[in-house]
Amino acid sequence: MIEASSLSKRYGAFRALDKVSFEVHRGEVVGFLGPNGAGKSTTMRILTCFISASGGTARVHGHDVFDQPLEVRKKIGYLPQRASLYGEMSVWEYLSFVADMRGLDHGVFKKRMRDIVEVCGIGQVLGKDIRTLSHGFRQRVGLGQALVHNPPILILDEPTSDLDPNEKAEVIKYIKEIGKERTILLSTHNLAEVEAACPRAIIVSKGRVVADGPLDEIRTKSGRVRYVVTVDEQRTFDGGVELRKGSKKAAPTAQEVQDALSALSGVSHFKELPTDDRAHSFEFLGAPGTDARHDIFQLCVQKGWYMLELRREARSLEDVFKALTKGDERLDRGRKVVVEDDEDEAEEDAAEDEADDEEAEDEEGDEGEEDGADDQGEEEAEDKAKAGDKSPSGKKD
């Protein structure tokens, strides 16, 4: 339904989009995530034919956005960021105006309005001037105008920005409701909304797609798994192997618990969690592709510790998002600008490779010193590489 292929957009020397490619299939609700300035709105504006791309192609419902903009616009319902509506018109007049512009017959419009009023919850404000409405209601009216012609595709750009939590929850509820029978591309930087409404997400950062897939896959692709372990800090039990051996073991201290857990293979990033109970609670990350729960359980039995909680979960979407988009706030588009020609690009890449090889040779002797200098940075880079295997850089071109 929506296909973007190597979309690029430059504003002077600034690259807003850098070869963005993705597809959204029929009936999918896809979250389009990214920090402010990552290129979400630019992508949506290209898809809705409001602006043109500097490079690449895009098709919506089989129509090319550059060659058939009218056909594309007929098939989409679009809600731009901060739905700007004609304030002097009443809600009914405005929706009627949009219906007229879309060539809807008056009878069809009235019939559609019944659904829209119900889905968007605007029945009580139909006769009111838009300028007198709250942000929440304006957003609903904006959603209503996007739905007025019953489009197969909806493109919603931050539909919940500026809304209070109750209004946000309602809009997300509407999106879920209408998403049952439509293709929806939902742009937001609110991850909870994506988790609530979208089975799949595309994450963009610095104008590039850095992750694309089902939410679980994105979380898993980040590699690390988070564990939470809580043990009683006052009591031990008799069955503990060490106690059976005769060693009199007092209740464990936090340090002992941490030392014991950190001795397990592949775990890292320990953090003690606050707890109301008389217990020690730790959070840490496990190695990718492993399950440390058996070892943790065995350890507690061995030590005679009462395990009050053991939880294993993929990293939250928020963690993944942070890892993938870290540094984006600087809007660093430090990449070389204006590479129009593929041949030029290939030559440039080759030149860069050569330079890298030379550099590597020069640095061979010093490698030891630099190893492990920045574990965390490497980890993030690794995370990015894993999760971002659909990014242009990660693609096998």
């Binding site: 409001f50 602006i51 043109s52 616009r73 731009p80 700007s84 004609y86 002097e88 018109m89 512009m101």
Partner: protein, 246 residues
């Protein structure tokens, strides 16, 4: 055509949803009355003839200095600033339909005001007062001149509104441009250099309108106003298209 009509209708009606249109129309009528009956160059009574030449002299000046800048300042500038343009353009519309719709909506409002000046000939030379036999030829040609002039002036205002996001800037730039074009012909006879005189009379709105007020319909004047209108509409279209490639 349906799209252009819808946009024009919305634009026209939007003016009457605020006091602005009412204030502008009332104020313009009052000012026109003052200038028509009293001020410089001798008012209607001093002319001692059944003529509306005075009205056709002052009406375009008032339209250029007040009505057109106020009417056109928000056409695209406000839409761009508030973001409603994005909403409008992502409907199935072509850019030229937006431009034409906006132009016709604003022009229609100005023409309503122009039409309201028809009260002068009707009331003064027909009912309730019959002040004399009015030569209707110059009246019709005068109105034709004003209609063509307002078309060109609105198109200029639309172009300027398409080039900025600020209503205030759009207002002042339109005001200055129309003021300059209108009064370029002021005292044109005193200009010594014939070349300069020719150029000034060619671009001056006042000079172009003078024959219409005298009952002369000159094809060159019609072509001039239509050309300015068409050129500015094309310019507005390009200014709107510019967003795609900015």
């Amino acid at each position: 055509m349906r799209i252009i009509w819808n946009i024009a209708k919305r634009e026209f009606k939007a003016n009457f949803n605020s006091p602005l249109a009412y204030v502008v129309i009332c104020l313009s009528m009052v000012l026109l009355g003052i200038f028509f009956f009293t001020v410089w160059g001798g008012g209607f009574w001093q002319a001692d003839r059944a003529t509306l030449a005075q009205m056709f002299l002052w009406a375009p000046r008032g339209l250029a200095m007040v009505v057109v800048p106020v009417t056109t300042m928000r056409l695209l500038a406000e839409e761009k600033r508030s973001g409603t343009l994005e909403m409008l353009i992502t409907l199935p519309v072509r850019d030229h339909e937006v431009i034409l719709g906006k132009f016709l909506g604003a022009w229609a409002l100005v023409l309503v005001l122009v039409a309201s000046t028809a009260l002068y000939p009707i009331m003064m030379f027909w009912k309730p007062w019959n002040l004399g036999a009015l030569d209707t030829g110059p009246v019709f040609s005068g109105y034709l001149g004003i209609i063509l002039f307002t078309g060109a002036a609105v198109a200029i205002g639309l172009l300027i509104s398409a080039l900025t996001e600020s209503q205030v800037i759009a207002f002042f730039v339109t005001w200055v441009v129309l003021l300059a074009l209108t009064f370029l012909g002021f005292g044109i006879d005193q200009v010594g250099n014939p070349m300069t005189r020719t150029v000034l009379s060619y671009v001056s709105f006042d000079a172009r309108l003078a024959p219409f007020a005298r009952g002369m319909i000159n094809t060159r004047d019609i072509v001039f106003f239509v050309s300015v209108t068409f050129g500015c509409l094309m310019g507005s279209f390009w200014a709107l298209e510019r967003r795609k490639w900015a």
